[in-house]
């Protein structure tokens, strides 16, 4: 590496130098969200041109609710992946927590919020157990969570009982994945979210300017913001179209409730990871645990906390599963769920080696996985082919991750 960079302060940045900076970042192993966004775009164009159903509002809404649980599990996994650990039990953890939720509502007549609180508490306890085994006893997370994967599967089987499925009829629970904001509320939500996003960006740029620091190029920020707001505007427009097959009987339009739920989790997660000392410490432990320890960070507690967060988010995913399937079964959160969630995080740009990743990766990657699953399903491919393609995409992403890491190693 060249070190002859003397006082070349690139203060007056232009779009060109921003592109240059980005390329330098790519070379340093930080590709950002671009590959996942481009991949998503290409997939949508390919499936859109091959299937007449793919680009309909109905399928779009369906896609979002399909992707929701995997996205939420992936969000939790990112905390663990950032440490360079893995949680293979996150899928069945969501199944167990979902079962706790449904049993409390259906068998014990509890209101949904108490049941949800209880299921999240169960998730926290499970995460605390896993995290303690990993952090305090030093058992590799792969082994601990592999054992938990089997164990939780067993617990779910026992909870679901002989009958196999437990139905849920609570209106609130069902609404999350099956009902929509009214079109007016959808637009109101869209406008509120956009204003929030713009104000956040402006205040950040403003604060840096005030402190006399190099701020993000306003032109670049505008391009990003306008395209993001534009694309989500199109999405809201599409979701506000009537998508019911039987209009006289039932009307289906608006943003599914699960979308604001996920955006809420995104905002909280991004805030925690990016703006708090706790989040910074998670990155530090993932980057160099020894350095973090010497800096006075309680590495063990950070590890335990990450597993607690992961399992708690799995509990929320359990709610989404229960809502979408109207029930919980012994396979809830099983089969490909966990692998899709890990795939979502990695495809979105989170590194399996720890220290690199963002909350939004879960959404981008989760959408890629869901689009492949959904699009290939519409084209009539068998499940086998879908798994092979998803596996290949995951492999490519992990490969890109590994290679970009090699590029950054000095």
């Amino acid at each position: 590496m060249s070190t002859s960079t003397t006082a070349v302060e690139v203060q007056e940045s232009s779009l060109k130098s921003a592109a240059h900076d980005y390329w330098a970042k790519v070379k340093a192993g930080d590709i950002g969200a671009l590959p996942a966004v481009l991949g998503l775009l290409v997939l949508c164009i390919v499936f859109g041109s091959m299937s007449s159903v793919f680009l309909t509002p109905g399928n779009f809404a369906n896609l979002l609710t399909q992707a929701a649980s995997v996205i939420v599990i992936a969000m939790g996994l990112i905390f663990v992946l950032l440490l360079g650990e893995i949680d293979l039990s996150a899928g069945y953890a969501s199944g167990v927590c979902g079962a706790v939720l449904v049993i409390l509502i259906t068998d014990h007549g509890q209101p949904w919020y108490i049941a949800l609180a209880a299921s999240i508490a169960v998730g926290m306890v499970m995460g605390f157990g896993l995290g303690t085994l990993v952090a305090r006893l030093g058992i590799p997370s792969f082994v601990v969570t592999l054992a938990a994967f089997l164990g939780f599967q067993g617990v779910l089987l026992i909870l679901a009982g002989e009958g196999g499925t437990i139905r849920v009829e609570d209106k609130t629970v069902l609404a999350i994945q099956n009902s929509n904001l009214s079109p007016t509320l959808s637009w109101a939500f869209y406008i509120a979210a956009s204003v929030f996003y713009v104000l956040l960006g402006l205040s950040r740029i403003n604060a840096r300017r005030k402190a006399g620091l190099k701020a993000e190029l306003i032109k670049l920020w505008l391009i990003k913001t306008v395209s993001l707001i534009g694309i989500s505007g199109l999405a809201v427009f599409a979701l506000n179209l009537e998508r019911s097959n039987n209009r006289e009987l039932v009307s289906l339009k608006g943003i599914p409730y699960v979308v604001p739920v996920i955006l809420f989790l995104l905002v909280i997660g991004t805030f925690v990871l990016g703006r708090t000392a706790f989040g910074r410490h998670i990155y530090a432990v993932g980057g160099n645990a020894e350095a973090a320890r010497r800096a006075g960070i309680n590495v063990k507690n950070i590890r335990i906390a990450a597993f607690v967060i992961c399992s708690s988010l799995s509990a929320i995913a359990g709610l989404l599963f229960a809502s979408r399937q109207n029930s919980i079964s012994p396979t809830t959160g099983g089969s490909s769920t966990l692998l899709y969630a890990v795939g979502a995080a990695v495809i979105g740009g989170t590194s399996l080696f720890g220290g690199k990743g963002k909350m939004r990766d879960a959404i981008l990657g989760g959408l890629v996985v869901a689009v492949i699953d959904n699009g290939m399903g519409l084209l009539g491919y068998a499940a086998g082919i879908k798994f092979i393609v998803t596996g290949a995409v995951l492999l490519v992403s992990a490969g890109v991750d590994a290679i970009s890491r090699r590029g950054s190693a000095v």
């Binding site: 070349v8 620091l213 708090t276 530090a284 020894e290 350095a291 006075g296 220290g355």
Partner: protein, 253 residues
């Protein structure tokens, strides 16, 4: 001569039956670079780990600024203003320079990190050390060269108004030009009024920047002498045999 900022008397440390440090004395003066030399296994690492609070000495007296102090953990040492820059630097590659400099001691506004304040302070510290080799302090440490990493690690140590900075072989893995840069930086630390302990195997480096030289030999302090009173051959003799003609034995005075 000024009063020592840090003064050790009769420090002993054993690990089981192994007596690693035997009645070690050491004085560190503000504004001076004290080179700590010694062969492998002489006890250099153990000694600095005792100063940094990672090990607790079995007995011995620590004086800081003339006051007797009791260092029982790393936090005590940092509270006094003693910072240590390890040989392996202990930086997080995935974080940028500012994040690394403030790791574990982040500046916060309520629950939120105050990035602007941290960046300004980091900038100021690097400027005070006349560091001009770093293009952007928002680049990740992974993208830095060995000398730049060393610079960041040192800047991290002086960020907190530290009084004593211990550098563990800062030039061990560096090329010629980068070694020169880092040695200049070490000199500037002392010129800024800090007490600097420099551990080094390189006699040339030691003679280039140190004001006085403390030589450990098999766990005992062979001698602590002013640099201009000795020549390199004598220091090498102190390191390898524990004594040298014309150098007063430590503790003899």
């Amino acid at each position: 001569m000024t009063e020592p900022i840090l003064s050790l008397r009769g420090v002993n440390k054993s690990f089981g039956p192994v007596h690693v440090l035997k009645d070690v004395n050491l004085d560190v003066h503000p504004g001076q670079v004290t080179a700590l030399v010694g062969d492998n296994g002489a006890g250099k690492s153990t000694l600095i780990k005792c100063i940094a609070g990672i090990y607790t000495p079995d007995h011995g007296e620590f004086k800081f600024n003339g006051q007797v102090v009791n260092i029982t953990g790393p936090r005590d040492a940092t509270a006094l203003g003693i910072e240590i820059v390890y040989q392996d630097l202990a930086l997080c590659d995935n974080l940028d320079i500012v994040h690394n400099m403030f790791l574990g001691r982040e500046v916060k506004k309520g629950p939120v990190l105050d990035e602007s304040a941290m960046e300004s302070l980091a900038r100021k510290t690097l400027d005070s050390l006349s560091v001009r080799t770093v293009k952007s302090i928002r680049q990740t440490v992974a993208s830095l060269s060995g000398g730049q990493r060393q610079t960041v690690a040192i800047a991290k140590a002086v960020l907190w108004n530290s009084k004593v900075v211990i550098l563990d072989e800062p030039t061990a893995a560096l090329g010629v030009a980068q070694t020169e840069q880092v040695l200049n930086l070490v000199r500037r630390l002392a010129d800024n009024g800090l007490g600097v302990i420099l551990i080094s195997h390189n006699i040339n480096d030691v003679f280039e920047v140190a004001d006085n030289i403390a030589a450990l030999y098999l766990g005992t302090m062979a001698a602590q002498v002013a640099k201009n009173e000795v020549i390199p051959r004598q220091v090498i003799e102190l390191i390898t045999t524990g004594a040298s003609a014309g150098v007063e034995k430590a503790g003899a005075k």
